[in-house]
Symmetry: C2
Subunit: 252 residues, 2 copies
């Protein structure tokens, strides 16, 4: 009998923000696979490192890190083959996914290749979108607000159009598009209602009003959250200033 393939959301970075279910499955699966860069540590693995067991087989999926380009499909062909071999041998395989597996996650490439043939279960995780709002101390959206999630690599016109609509906006994959996105947000008169977040829930996280960011380039995994709906959060929950009573939710 074949093993089960798990797409395991491991949350935004704080090891305490994984679910009880992901925690249990990490202890039960014989095989653990995860994306890893060709020049460093796997972030997904680092999040759960303390929960892994000595006897587990690990399958790193080496992703060549050409900044912000989508990796060659051959990487996933090969990883799917390795994982299928383990499933065929009757081993359950947990694929570690940063944040949530199905929210802009690369797990989809394995899912497409394997879910028709193998019993597959997705374990949803805490997304960096929700973790960012928690860290910023301002809700994402409320009541009948429309939320737009916008990948920053989109072109200026597409972004201008999106910025004009909706009550809540989340820019993801900001990275090297940072200066351009800031300019477009400023054009739309929304800088004062924008928060900037980087490496949320980790020890080296950065959380601040967008207008307080001095860098021109920022990490790929950074986010900008904008609110322009009817709630009076901009006055009530100011992003700038000192004495912010909301902390980042870090594990002590």
């Amino acid at each position: 009998m074949s093993g089960i393939l798990y797409g395991l959301g491991v949350g935004p970075g704080d090891p305490e923000l994984i679910t009880l279910k992901a925690h249990r499955l990490l202890g039960e699966c014989n095989v653990v696979a995860y994306p890893a860069p060709d020049d460093g540590q796997s972030f997904a693995r680092a999040i759960v490192a303390q929960y892994l067991k000595p006897g587990q087989l690990e399958i790193p999926i080496i992703i060549p890190m050409r900044r912000e380009r989508f990796p060659a499909q051959s990487v996933y062909d090969s990883a799917a083959k390795d994982i299928a071999a383990q499933l065929d041998a009757g081993h359950d395989v947990a694929v570690l996914c940063e944040g949530d597996p199905f929210f802009y996650g690369s797990f989809m490439y394995l899912f497409e290749r394997l879910s028709a043939e193998y019993s597959t279960q997705i374990v949803p995780g805490v997304s960096s979108l929700m973790a960012s709002a928690a860290a910023l101390g301002r809700p994402i959206a409320a009541r009948n607000d429309v939320l737009n999630v916008i990948p920053a690599p989109l072109d200026d016109d597409a972004i201008r159009q999106r910025l004009a609509q909706g009550e809540a906006i989340a820019f993801i994959k900001v990275g090297r598009h940072f200066a351009r996105i800031c300019r477009l947000i400023d054009e739309a008169g929304l800088t004062g209602s924008a928060g900037y977040l980087e490496r949320v829930s980790l020890d080296n996280e950065k959380i601040m009003a967008l207008e307080d960011v001095s860098a021109n380039e920022v990490p790929y995994f950074s986010m900008i959250l904008i609110y322009k709906g009817a709630e009076d959060w901009i006055e009530k929950l100011p992003l700038s200033g000192t004495a912010k009573s909301v902390d980042a939710g870090l594990t002590a």
Copy 2:
């Protein structure tokens, strides 16, 4: 010294989908508050009932259930006062929030009233948006897709405009707007790419292609997920039909 106020995301319904952090804090807080209808059980409390301890003080926040209207602010004035009294007495208070506290959650009403005066920490949770995609067996969005989250109570024109844009769409708060939303989705030619979800991650969950739903009215906490981006998920990951190998992620 005042206690700490926690906004605790308890996830979409499966008790195993809460985070390790929420689980720990549930055991540590002297006081637990949660929204409850005036005619039945609190859903948020039910999710974590097995983790509560006998000695904890419980503060139900009774919300009169006038369908899909936002409750009177006096309910939150009064709840904030009760919670403040506990914080003043030095007790930590965990407010239980279905899904994630800051993703269209009613916790914002307490947060607005209390976060300036009391040390407050938000613990993000697994949102029903992510849990729904997991249960449906189809990613929400990928690469440079734009995601629109649309509350179903919006009027026809606003919804028509939204349906024409973006690559991924999530309708929330569908409830009694179901028939109207279905008509608008059909008008836009998107019925074939829509999935319907109800009470995701619970024993009585329903997950199906939108075109297979026969009801005219559905529960308030139901969702419709549409994908119309560049990924070929509509062919590769059909929502209709038998032999769906992806199960709902239910705890055994």
